[in-house]
């Protein structure tokens, strides 16, 4: 029997993501992959999938989906407000971080993320998704990946692999880190900026603006003065790099970043703080704390240890 979710409302930016597409950046293909790896990891754990299984990522407002076919064990992670609408019309408030069972004709209405940006939806056994270049992640800009390289659209169907024999409900206790301090390491072109600007960057607040998406996050704050050159010879980009274009306002390059770029970089976000960063909504005032490699590496160790504990 055909089993799928019908999309009654696609949401703002709903795409399938996994851990990313690697080994192709020299051909201009950015890794992409889930923005918030912790939430992605947890959503798979909740339904008993392997932690790299493709899941549906949504931003701000998620989709409204109707299950057609058998029952399904599903879960949502992130700070998400959602309802389960039973076939008989009964509405139940959904709980993230707790897997639950949907029956034929039930709907799941993902209304919004709360003081955060991204949430994830998974199903036991995984969605039926095609790999390209070793990953199911969707890169909309280049039309690469699942769902013909596009966001979810109205009336589309999303198919999944299997129906669970035994329904194992799982709960995970998880709290977002609330503070707005992001740890960074010095960037390659740190010395392109005046001493005062370097001081400003590592001490003043920078506000997240609305011009933020999977490609990058634009910030607004004390203008950073370039004393060398506003452009550099284009070089490969690493996610989490903080570049400063001619206008002196920082842009943090995120998971769908261009593969090469020619703006000087003042700092790089450490891996352990990336998930926290991407969940910050427009208006949030960030502070950047300078750390060295050994701090970043030990923070990563703690980060992975915490994830593997779930």
């Amino acid at each position: 029997m055909n089993k799928y979710f019908k999309i009654l409302r696609p949401g703002i930016n709903s795409t399938f993501q996994d851990l990313g597409r690697f080994g192709l950046q020299h051909l201009g293909i950015v890794p992409s992959g889930c923005m918030d790896r912790s939430s992605f990891f947890i959503v798979n754990k909740l339904v008993g999938n392997k932690v790299s299984e493709g899941a549906l990522e949504f931003a701000y407002q998620g989709p409204l989906l109707e299950l057609v076919g058998d029952s399904a064990l599903v879960a949502i992670s992130g700070k998400v407000n959602f309802n389960i609408i039973k076939k008989n019309g009964e509405i139940k408030l959904g709980m993230p971080y707790e897997s639950f069972v949907l029956s034929n004709g039930d709907k799941i209405d993902i209304l919004s993320t709360i003081n955060s940006v991204y949430g994830y939806f998974s199903i036991f056994g995984g969605f039926k998704l095609e790999e390209t270049g070793g990953s199911i992640s969707t890169l909309v800009r280049a039309k690469i990946g699942s769902n013909k390289g596009d966001k979810l659209k109205l009336d589309e169907k999303i198919f999944f692999n299997q129906t669970p024999q035994e329904l194992k409900i799982k709960k995970i206790k998880f709290e977002f880190e609330n503070n707005n301090t992001i740890r960074v390491m010095k960037g390659l072109q740190n010395d392109y900026f005046s001493e005062k600007s370097q001081e400003d960057f590592f001490s003043k607040e920078y506000k997240v603006t609305k011009l933020s998406d999977r490609m990058g996050m634009r910030l607004e704050g004390e203008k950073l003065k370039n004393i060398k050159s506003k452009n550099i010879k284009s070089e490969g980009i690493t996610k989490g790099s903080i570049q400063i274009p001619g206008d002196g306002q920082p842009i943090i390059l995120l998971s769908d970043h261009p593969t090469i770029g020619g703006y000087p970089k003042i700092a790089n976000v450490i891996t352990a703080d990336y998930d926290k960063l991407v969940q910050k909504t427009p208006g949030t005032k960030l502070k950047f704390k300078l750390v060295d490699l050994s701090v970043a590496e030990s923070a990563f160790k703690d980060y992975i240890k915490k994830l593997n504990f779930f």
Binding site: G23, Q25, H26, G28, I144, G187, T238, T259
Partner: protein, 232 residues
């Protein structure tokens, strides 16, 4: 020569080959790029996620769960890669181009600036043996060089909002081919009907860093009749 290795955050390093943007420097970059590629394939080093060459740098990204920056740096320093012969063979690729006035949007400006006429500009472009310095920004977009000095021209003061896929542009000694419709500030002199990027192919990008490129002129009729390889 490799001058300096620095960290980029906790999961990347950059190998810096100096400030020159020329074939000699870039060939050194490509040599290390090929060496890392071979080492990944032959499992000589673990945890490498990407290795991205540009004009004068190679950036290497890795999985912190598997490897740390000091091990990657140590690996590069302890191998004399300059003498190894890579299994990666660079290839010579011919790319069709149509210089019809419909596509050569900036030819008038170039004529004024370079004091060459249309035919001379085309001839210079066709005579150039191009080298692929790097690929990127968006999937499959090549950055080629070197044009002769008499064709050098700056970027447009106001970039175009939309440049069609396949458009061929020049700036300074470089030439690029837009593989996706995008904004851009390069001087457009023609258009290729050839799809340079198709994710469904085993080798999604038609060109690789280090390849050689020669343009072949086609008229408007051949341009319109050109058939790209179909992959279902």
């Amino acid at each position: 020569m490799l001058k300096k290795i620095s960290n980029i955050g906790d999961c990347g390093i950059t190998c810096d080959f100096g400030d020159d943007v020329d074939k000699k420097t870039n060939k050194e970059v490509i040599k290390l790029f090929n060496f890392i590629g071979d080492s990944v394939k032959n499992k000589k080093i673990k945890g490498i996620l990407n290795y991205t060459p540009s004009y004068n740098k190679l950036i290497i990204n890795f999985d912190l769960e598997q490897v740390h920056s000091r091990e990657v740096i140590e690996f590069i320093k302890s191998n004399d890669y300059s003498k190894t012969i890579s299994s990666e063979k660079s290839k010579l690729v011919e790319i069709p181009i149509c210089y019809d006035e419909e596509f050569a949007l900036d030819i008038k400006r170039l004529e004024q600036k370079t004091k060459l006429n249309f035919d001379e500009i085309v001839k210079e472009h066709l005579n150039t043996d191009f080298f692929v310095y790097m690929i990127g920004f968006v999937p499959g977009q090549p950055f080629l060089g070197d044009l002769k000095e008499n064709l050098y021209h700056d970027r447009l003061d106001t970039p175009r909002v939309k440049i069609n896929k396949g458009s061929v542009g020049i700036v300074e000694k470089f030439c690029t081919i837009y593989t996706f419709e995008s904004p851009g500030g390069w001087n457009i002199i023609g258009k290729t009907p050839l799809d340079l990027f198709n994710i469904k192919k085993k080798e999604p990008s038609h060109l690789s860093p280090g390849d050689s490129v020669k343009f072949r002129p086609v008229n408007k009729k051949d341009f319109l009749n050109f058939k790209n390889e179909q992959i279902l």
